[in-house]
Symmetry: C2
């Protein structure tokens, strides 16, 4: 069975759980507490040398890490990845956009405000990542005006991966009110049959020591 | 014919020129001077809303932007992308690694030192991106110890895309001396038949007004 090295409040891990749920793929979870030193332990470094969650162990024991790469692997040949090469390349482009412009800004704001609870101590840094985050949201809003999904006419992993930190923007004290197209897209994704809430995780089969 | 919106000293554009050369694909160039306001002009924003080079216009007029997404598009079905899904997902993982950890650090150091010539004025920022850049080089070095290429046994777009800013690390006042595996890998890529120097560009068919 697929084994997901997971952490319930990690947005990157949620991307993989969403992809697995949309594809109705069974998996077992190993809970890695990112707030402790678990991810830096030699045991976990042997699984992901970058010391980050998530990672996925395939049934033959091979490991993949990076949420977008895992989503790409799981989605090939399914409805979550376009059949045509142009569509697939557009998905890759939005996966990279998310990692470079959304995760590092909107995701970082959430990390400072919610995970670390250091909004006051790191006010200047927070303001800067929020400013950059709004630039990324501007791009997404412009692209989604008149579109249903980021690429093509149905939900792909480009939507799933960009959705996560946008949907939690309020946890980084960011406001989606000026973004009607983005808000409609978030609601559209949350209404899909395969959607699962961040907290709706299967019981872990084990916790990393 | 494929049309590349290009800028000769852009590392990201070089990735695409390298990919095209390795695949022996003909293309025409439009030279976009990133140091002026060309990339912010309405004409160019219509091609790439992010206002960045490179962008690629396909023969049917459709546009792709983001160097890694373009490389992915061009390489599907060729020797530059593995045939198996696990290999392709590993390539995606290294494309994202490059955009997130190499381009933003080693590439940014080059931008500050060489492109802007602001190494002294922005010394603290430069030191920080160099520090983060060395962390990325550490990861690459560890991965390449005992390996010939990043994924599998032959050159893929993961190598081409990670190569560019590593090969120019000295232009950001970064030193590859402590990285023997990386230096051997750079030399290995430069010796491949499809390799082209950054400056070896075809004459542009037009310059954007």
């Amino acid at each position: 069975m697929l084994r997901l090295y997971d952490f319930v409040t990690s947005g990157n891990a949620w991307k993989v759980r969403l992809t697995l749920s949309h594809l109705d793929m069974p998996y077992e979870r190993v809970e890695i507490d990112r707030t402790t030193t678990h991810t830096q332990s030699p045991d976990y470094r042997a699984i992901n040398p970058l010391g980050l969650v998530p990672a996925l162990r395939l049934e033959d024991g091979r490991i993949l890490h990076d949420s977008s790469a895992i989503a790409f692997y799981l989605s090939e040949g399914t409805h979550l990845l376009p059949e045509d090469g142009y569509g697939r390349a557009q998905v890759v482009q939005w996966l990279i956009f998310e990692q470079r412009y959304v995760c590092e800004t909107v995701g970082m704001a959430r990390y400072i405000v919610k995970t670390l609870a250091e909004a006051e101590a790191r006010a200047a840094e927070l303001a800067e990542v929020q400013r950059q985050g709004y630039e990324a949201l501007d791009q997404l809003e412009r692209h989604l005006e008149g579109r249903t999904f980021l690429v093509g006419e149905s939900c792909t992993i480009a939507d799933i991966c960009n959705f996560v930190y946008v949907a939690m923007a309020d946890q980084g004290a960011m406001d989606l009110t000026p973004y009607p197209a983005l808000r409609a897209w978030v609601a559209r994704l949350e209404a899909l049959p395969g959607h699962v809430a961040m907290e709706a995780v299967p019981k872990p089969v084990l916790r990393l020591p």
